[in-house]
C-alpha cells in the first residue's frame, strides 16, 4: 500500500458560493399581524457577519409593547381564523411553507452562513433542507392528531411563545413553528439577536404562503424581548431552546402560572470510543461531534472518552485529522470550520481556553491559518482532563474537546453520567450487546451509536436532567403543543 504523503500541499483553490442572488434589506422591521411593523421604541440593532465583522443589516428591537401587540395579533388570529379552519386546510398551509423553503433553499443557506458564520456546506446540506423537512413532516400531522393520542381528545393550547438560539437559526425556527402550527396554535417567535435574518426571511415566505395574518409573528430583540414574551399573561406556552441558566430563569418565571413549558437546554455530551470500535469512523465521528458548526451545538460531543488501550492511536489519528480541517470563509464550499458566531461567544471560548491552560491541562490547537478579520477559534483539544476540570464540566459551546480515558465499561458509564446535563451521548463499538448496555444506561435523551449529530423531523430530540424537558420532533414532540382531555 502506498504511503500517504503527509507533507503534500493540500491547499485548495477558493470555491466561494455566489452571493449575487442574495438580497438583504438595510433594515428589518418586526413581523406582526402579517405586516412588517416598525418597533414602537424606534430602536434598531446591527447584525454583523462574524467572518468579516461587516454590518449586514439593522434589526428592529421589540420592547414590551411590541411583544404585547404580537401576542394580541396571535390571539386574534387564533380565535378568529386558525382555530376555525379545518385541520386539512391547516396542513396545506404548512406544506406550502415547506415547499417555499425548498424553492428558496440556496438563498436561505447563504444568508444563514453570512449572518451566523457557519460553513455553507452545513447550512446548504443540513440546516435548510432539515428546516423544510420539519415543515413537511409536521404538516401531515395536522389532520391526524387523534391517531397520535389514542383515547384522548386533542385540542390546541392557543398562543405559544417561542425563543430560539443562534446556532441553528432557521432550523430552530422550523423546529418550533412547524409543530405549533400543525397542532393548531398561533405563534410569537423571538430569534436570537445575532441571527435574526433567516427568521425574518422566513416571515416574508410565510406571508407569501398566504398564511392568515397573525398566525405567525416574529419579534426580534435580545434578552429583554424574550423576558417580555415569557412574562406575557396571554401566552399559553413557552418553548425555549438555549442555555441552562436562562432556562432555569424561565422555569422560575413560569412557575405558578398556567403556562406550559418545554426547555431544550445545554449539554456536555460524552462521546465514548471503545477499543473494538472502527477507529477511522470513530475519528470522523469525534470530528463531526465537536467541530460541526464550530461546536456551537447543544448536543456537541464535547467530552471524549477513549478506552486506554487505543488512547494513543486515537490521539494520533485525531490530531492528524484535525490538521486537515479547513478553517475560514464560511461561504467557501471547502470550509470545514467557519466563524465563531459573535465576538461575545469568542470571548467566552477564549476564557475557557485560558482556564484550561491555567489548570495545567495539555492544550493542542491545529496550526491552520486564521483570517485577520472576524471571530475565529482553531480546533482545540485538551488532554489529561480530570472529571473535576472546568473544561469537562461546563458547556463551552465552541470547537473545544476534552479528552479523558477509561478502562472498564462501568467506569465510563459513571464518568459519562457524572454531569448535571443529559442531552446526548455517543458510543463507538463493534459489539451490539455493548451498544445496548451503554445506550440503556447513559442518561441522555439522544444516543448516537456508531454515528453522531444526526437529526430528523421524525426523531424526538431533547434532554434528561438539567438539559431540559419535553421533546421536539416526531410524535413525541406534538405532546408539548396540545391539551389532552
Amino acid at each position: 500500500m502506498a504511503k500517504t504523503d503527509n507533507n503534500a500541499d493540500w491547499n485548495l483553490a477558493p470555491a466561494p458560493e455566489s452571493t449575487d442572488h442574495i438580497h438583504i434589506d438595510k433594515r428589518y422591521e418586526l413581523f406582526i399581524d402579517g405586516k412588517f411593523t416598525a418597533p414602537s421604541g424606534k430602536k434598531y440593532f446591527k447584525t454583523v457577519n462574524p467572518a468579516t465583522e461587516e454590518v449586514l443589516a439593522e434589526i428592529a428591537e421589540a420592547n414590551g409593547r411590541d411583544v404585547d401587540k404580537a401576542v394580541k395579533a396571535a390571539r386574534k388570529a387564533y380565535n378568529g381564523v386558525w382555530s376555525k379552519i379545518s385541520a386539512k386546510e391547516r396542513a396545506k398551509y404548512i406544506f406550502r411553507i415547506a415547499r417555499l423553503i425548498q424553492e428558496r433553499a440556496r438563498e436561505f443557506a447563504v444568508i444563514e452562513s453570512l449572518d451566523g458564520g457557519k460553513p455553507i456546506r452545513e447550512s446548504r446540506d443540513v440546516d435548510v433542507p432539515t428546516a423544510a423537512a420539519h415543515f413537511f413532516y409536521h404538516a401531515g400531522w395536522a389532520d391526524k392528531l387523534e391517531y397520535a393520542f389514542p383515547v384522548r381528545k386533542v385540542s390546541p393550547l392557543g398562543v405559544v411563545g417561542q425563543i430560539i438560539p443562534w446556532n441553528f437559526p432557521l432550523l430552530m425556527a422550523a423546529w418550533k413553528i412547524a409543530p405549533a402550527l400543525a397542532t393548531g396554535n398561533t405563534v410569537v417567535l423571538k430569534p436570537a439577536e445575532t441571527t435574526s435574518l433567516t427568521a425574518l426571511k422566513l416571515a416574508e415566505l410565510i406571508r407569501d404562503a398566504g398564511l392568515p395574518d397573525g398566525v405567525v409573528n416574529i419579534v426580534t430583540g435580545a434578552g429583554a424581548t424574550g423576558r417580555a414574551l415569557t412574562e406575557h399573561p396571554d401566552v399559553d406556552k413557552i418553548a425555549f431552546t438555549g442555555s441552562t441558566d436562562v432556562g432555569k430563569m424561565i422555569q422560575r418565571t413560569v412557575a405558578g402560572t398556567d403556562k406550559k413549558l418545554t426547555l431544550e437546554l445545554g449539554g456536555k455530551a460524552a462521546n465514548i470510543i471503545f477499543e473494538d470500535a472502527p477507529i477511522d469512523q470513530a475519528v470522523e465521528g469525534i470530528i463531526n461531534g465537536i467541530f460541526f458548526n464550530q461546536g456551537h451545538v447543544c448536543c456537541a460531543g464535547s467530552r471524549l472518552f477513549v478506552q486506554e488501550s487505543v488512547a494513543a492511536e486515537v490521539d494520533r489519528r485525531l490530531k492528524h485529522r484535525m490538521e486537515s480541517l479547513i478553517l475560514g470563509d464560511p461561504l467557501d464550499k471547502n470550509t470545514d470550520v467557519g466563524a465563531i458566531n459573535s465576538k461575545g461567544q469568542l470571548e467566552t471560548i477564549n476564557s475557557y481556553l485560558a482556564k484550561g491552560k491555567k489548570e495545567g491541562l495539555t492544550m493542542f490547537q491545529t496550526d491552520c491559518p486564521v483570517p485577520e478579520k472576524g471571530f475565529w477559534c482553531r480546533p482545540t483539544l485538551f488532554s489529561d482532563v480530570a472529571q473535576s476540570s472546568v473544561i469537562a464540566r461546563e458547556e463551552i459551546f465552541g470547537p473545544v474537546l476534552a479528552i479523558q480515558t477509561f478502562r472498564t465499561v462501568d467506569e465510563v458509564i459513571d464518568k459519562a453520567n457524572n454531569t448535571p446535563y443529559g442531552l446526548s451521548a455517543g458510543v463507538w463499538t463493534d459489539k451490539g450487546s455493548k451498544i445496548f448496555n451503554l445506550t440503556t444506561r447513559l442518561k441522555a435523551g439522544v444516543v448516537w451509536a456508531n454515528t453522531y449529530n444526526k437529526f430528523d423531523p421524525t426523531s424526538p430530540f431533547g434532554g434528561y436532567k438539567e438539559s431540559g424537558f419535553g421533546r421536539e420532533g416526531g410524535l413525541h414532540g406534538l405532546r408539548a403543543y396540545v391539551n389532552l382531555h
Binding site: 439522544v446 421524525t458 426523531s459 434528561y464 416526531g474
Partner: protein
C-alpha cells in the same frame, strides 16, 4: 405507641403499634425525635406519628437514588409481578386498614370503598409495567440510513406530596405510577390521615419491593415541601392538591435543577391512566447506522 380500642383481646390489653417511617427498607422513627399526634373523631389519642425532618427526607432520597438503577434494571414483567404482589399483601390486611380508616374518622362504607379502590389501582398499574413502553415507544422513519427508535425511560428519583384527603388511595396514587415506570419515590403521606400510609409501608416491606424503591414519610407538608422542591438529587416533583401560592413557590424552587414538576388535583383526576406513568418518563432516542449494501458496492 398507638392504643387501639376497637379490637380488645379477651383477657388482656392490646399491644399497640408504634408508627414509624419507611426509609431504605427499614422502619426508623424520625431522626429528629419529634412527633405529632393523631386523634380519632372523638378527639381521643390514636398515635404519635413521626414528624419527619429535612434530614429524614434527605436520607430517603439517598436510599431512593441507591435503589433506582437496580429497580429500573428489573424486567418489566418482574416489576409488574411485584406491584401485583403489593395488592395481594394489601388484600389480606383488609381489616387492619378498615379499622385504621374508621379510627381516623372514615365511615364504614367510605373505608370499604377506599380500600377496594386501592386494590383496583394496584392491580391496574401492575398491568401497565410491561405495556406502556410499547404504547409510548416508537420506531422513527428517519430519512437517512439509520435505525432510530424512542423508548420511555424513568426520570429517576421522584419526590411526591400525597393528597391530604385520602388515607390509603392517595399514597398509592402518589407512588405506584412512578415505580411502575422504574422510578424510585419518596412520598410524604397525608397529614390528616397518616396511619394507613405507615401500615402500607409494612405491606410494601413484605411484597418483594427492593429496599429504597418506595420511601414513606409522615409529617407536615408546610415544613417539608420546600425541601422536596429544592433537593438537587430529585429529578421530579409531584404535588397533589397544591395551593396556588405553593405552586408558584415550589415551581420556583424546582427550577434550581430543572425538575420535572407536576401539580395534580385529586378532585379532577379520579380516573387512573398511563399519563401518570408517562409524566415521569424521559423519551430516549437511539440512532444506529444501517449498512446500505447496495450503496456501498459490497455484497454478501
Amino acid at each position: 405507641m398507638a392504643t387501639k380500642k376497637t379490637q380488645q383481646i379477651t383477657g388482656g390489653i392490646d399491644v399497640s403499634k408504634t408508627y414509624k417511617i419507611f426509609i431504605g427498607g427499614a422502619f426508623p422513627r424520625t431522626e429528629s425525635g419529634r412527633y405529632f399526634d393523631v386523634k380519632d373523631k372523638d378527639g381521643k389519642f390514636l398515635a404519635n406519628m413521626c414528624l419527619s425532618s429535612r434530614k429524614d427526607f434527605r436520607n430517603a432520597v439517598v436510599a431512593a437514588r441507591k435503589a433506582q438503577e437496580g429497580w429500573q434494571d428489573r424486567s418489566a414483567y418482574n416489576r409488574s409481578q411485584i406491584i401485583y404482589r403489593i395488592a395481594e399483601m394489601l388484600q389480606q390486611k383488609r381489616s387492619v386498614f378498615l379499622d385504621e380508616m374508621q379510627a381516623m374518622g372514615h365511615s364504614a362504607s367510605r373505608a370499604q370503598k377506599e380500600f377496594s379502590d386501592s386494590i383496583d389501582l394496584l392491580v391496574y398499574y401492575a398491568g401497565w409495567c410491561d405495556k406502556y413502553t410499547q404504547v409510548y415507544g416508537a420506531v422513527n422513519p428517519v430519512a437517512s440510513s439509520h435505525f432510530n427508535f424512542s423508548v420511555p425511560e424513568p426520570t429517576g428519583v421522584v419526590a411526591v406530596m400525597a393528597e391530604n384527603g385520602s388515607a390509603l388511595k392517595g399514597v398509592i396514587k402518589a407512588v405506584i405510577p412512578a415505580v411502575c415506570g422504574g422510578n424510585t419515590a419518596v412520598v410524604l403521606a397525608s397529614e390528616n390521615f397518616p396511619l394507613c400510609a405507615v401500615s402500607f409501608a409494612e405491606v410494601i416491606a413484605t411484597s418483594d419491593v427492593p429496599a429504597g424503591v418506595i420511601n414513606i414519610l409522615t409529617g407536615k407538608r408546610s415544613e417539608l415541601q420546600h425541601h422536596f422542591a429544592s433537593h438537587m438529587d430529585v429529578n421530579a416533583l409531584v404535588v397533589w392538591d397544591a395551593s396556588a401560592s405553593a405552586r408558584m413557590e415550589l415551581g420556583q424552587h424546582a427550577a434550581e435543577n430543572v425538575k420535572r414538576t407536576f401539580f395534580y388535583d385529586s378532585a379532577e383526576t379520579d380516573a387512573p391512566g398511563p399519563e401518570y406513568i408517562i409524566d415521569l418518563q424521559e423519551t430516549k432516542t437511539t440512532w444506529h447506522p444501517v449498512e446500505s449494501i447496495k450503496g456501498s458496492g459490497s455484497g454478501y
